[in-house]
Symmetry: C2
Subunit: 123 residues, 2 copies
């Protein structure tokens, strides 16, 4: 399958879960996964999903501007680089963000998120 | 050595070369390296440095806002995620950008850029 199509499908899937049922992101991380969220480092699926579900808003909406991807090496991983905006409830302005994912293949032929780095891009 | 210190040192080194002598970036890429620059995909050190040296400005200045890093897996690679602004000659406003590097170890114990994805973050 075309890597760009896989990356786009992953990004749509990820933010759809994030925006509708953040706890469901548990299926996309594993114990070795790492998240750096606005500079805070968290390792392991439980800690990562705990962080994401405890963010101080109930609903949000990601709007994707760009998705770039590259293979990360012989292990079959894929780097996915996203830019876009984030709409929070009660906020008039959208927040710009950038995020990168390093996807690694699972034994079942799917992908999980091994690396995840998120930053808001303050104007 | 502390990975965050290595990442910060790489970033300072990379943008110092970029801002003073772009052709010198040839030492940081290899034949298998990949660059995605504003969506354009380029592979190999010659193509990458050719692209970067042909950008339509002579001088620029990167100002770094954030540097995040994570290990990318058992091969000893490091993911480096940068946000900042770019000052171009004759431009009143700085351009916001995000960039990610996947550094892989060289045989001499240093690092080279295996993956590089760059995006301007338009306001």
């Amino acid at each position: 399958m075309d890597p760009d199509a896989v990356a786009k499908a992953f990004v749509d899937h990820y933010y759809n879960i994030f925006d509708t049922n953040r706890a469901g992101l548990v299926s996309l991380y594993q114990d070795g996964s790492m998240l750096t969220f606005e500079g805070q480092k968290i390792q392991g699926v439980q800690g990562i999903v705990g962080k994401l579900t405890s963010l101080p808003f109930q609903q949000c909406k990601h709007n994707i501007s760009t998705v770039d991807c590259q293979p990360s090496g012989p292990a079959g991983g894929m780097l996915v680089f996203v830019s876009g905006t984030l709409q929070l409830p009660g906020e008039q302005h959208q927040l710009k963000f950038s995020q990168m994912f390093h996807l690694m293949p699972t034994q079942s032929g799917s992908f999980f998120v091994f690396n995840d780095i998120f930053r808001l891009n303050y104007a």
